[in-house]
């Protein structure tokens, strides 16, 4: 029941987000606005248990939610077979660059933060 109530909360926030994004012509999609609004809303303790239950159910099966769009690859098979190797090179290399840059930079920043925390040593 909690998960169901939580799903209702998430959908209400998504709807508010969609409405705000539309009315104010925000550059963010509705669900993103809903996410930003939900963070301060969680100050209200009665929202936490339902949201936790729904969030754990949805995020625990996040992979499943990408499959319907992923299967859409069959509608682009001609383009993918035409540019296949080049597309794969672009996707693989740029994904590795993104992961490596993020990991190395964050590792550096957090290590520096750790050493700043112990200035006496």
């Amino acid at each position: 029941m909690n998960a169901l109530r939580g799903l209702a909360v998430l959908l209400v926030l998504q709807a508010i987000g969609e409405a705000l994004a539309h009315a104010l012509a925000l550059p963010f999609p509705g669900p993103v606005v809903g996410m930003v609004l939900l963070i301060p809303a969680l100050q209200a303790s009665w929202l936490r248990e339902p949201v936790k239950a729904a969030a754990e159910a949805l995020l625990g099966h996040l992979s499943l939610l990408f499959i319907p769009v992923g299967v859409g690859v069959i509608t682009h098979l001609d383009m993918i077979s035409h540019y296949g190797v080049r597309l794969l090179v672009v996707i693989v290399i740029s994904t590795w660059i993104g992961m490596a840059v993020t990991a190395l930079l964050l590792n550096f920043l957090l290590h520096r933060e750790h050493s700043e925390e112990k200035p006496g040593e």
Binding site: L11, G34, L65, V71, L87, A103
Partner: protein
């Protein structure tokens, strides 16, 4: 035999088919993934997409017919994005403390992967529409579709590129991080979430709760940064 064909034609044209096929295939792929010790190459998204794609091609089922049923799963992506507030809320004190480092890493990491995909795409002579669909590929697919539309790409293609990016990240992250000697699970999760959004976050969650939470934070930050900055970058440079 003829009866069977008629029954198949009927079932395949109702929304029941797309929904059932997606859940059954995913449940099977997930069980196999568990049996194989969650090996990266056994990624359930990859094998579910491959299996369902082959099933549709072999049975000559059109994608819109499949999607009529699968959309009931697809709509949950909206509330799932809103639900990302939960891991962010849970780690609010860490976020406040490490906020600057995380935001900087998300900004530089996200910009470098988008810039690399555009530069490589242009260098390899891919058409402009395809390059514009590649740019938002590190953002979770529903948001990537919206961004692609605003910068002159093709939303459906952007969604496919985002999913492929997620799968590439989930398959290779372990080996790349080991090679770079990144041992912190928080850093590994964050980097995977930054470049491979929800599919990377799902993989990180399956490996470790800490890594998963940081991947969730990264995914949320990437959504915010990319929806704001990618359209601006394209407006200024093209």
């Amino acid at each position: 035999m003829n009866d069977f064909v008629q029954l198949w034609v009927y079932l395949a044209s109702t929304p029941l088919f797309g929904l059932t096929a997606t859940l059954v295939v995913y449940a099977g792929a997930s069980a196999l993934y568990e049996r194989l010790g969650r090996a990266p190459w056994a990624n359930p998204v990859l094998w579910s997409v491959v299996t369902l794609g082959i099933l549709l091609l072999v049975t000559h089922t059109a994608y819109p017919v499949y999607f009529a049923g699968a959309q009931f799963i697809h709509v949950l992506l909206g509330p799932a994005v809103v639900a990302l507030a939960w891991p962010l809320w849970q780690r609010r004190s860490e976020l406040r403390r490490r906020g600057v480092a995380l935001a900087l890493a998300a900004l530089v990491g996200g910009a470098s992967t988008a810039a690399a995909s555009v530069a490589l795409g242009l260098a390899l002579g891919l058409p402009g529409k395809v390059v514009r669909s590649l740019a938002p590929k590190s953002v979770t697919s529903p948001v990537a579709m919206g961004i692609a539309e605003r910068i002159g790409g093709l939303p459906a293609l952007a969604a496919v590129f985002a999913i492929l990016t997620g799968i590439v990240g989930a398959l290779s992250a372990k080996y790349l991080f080991n090679l770079l000697r990144i041992n912190s699970l928080a850093v590994r999760g964050f980097a995977l979430g930054t470049s491979s959004h929800g599919i990377g976050a799902a993989r990180a969650l399956q490996v470790d709760a800490e890594a998963g939470a940081y991947a969730g934070i990264a995914l949320g930050l990437q959504v915010l940064l990319a929806s704001l900055l990618l359209p601006m970058a394209f407006l200024l440079s093209f």
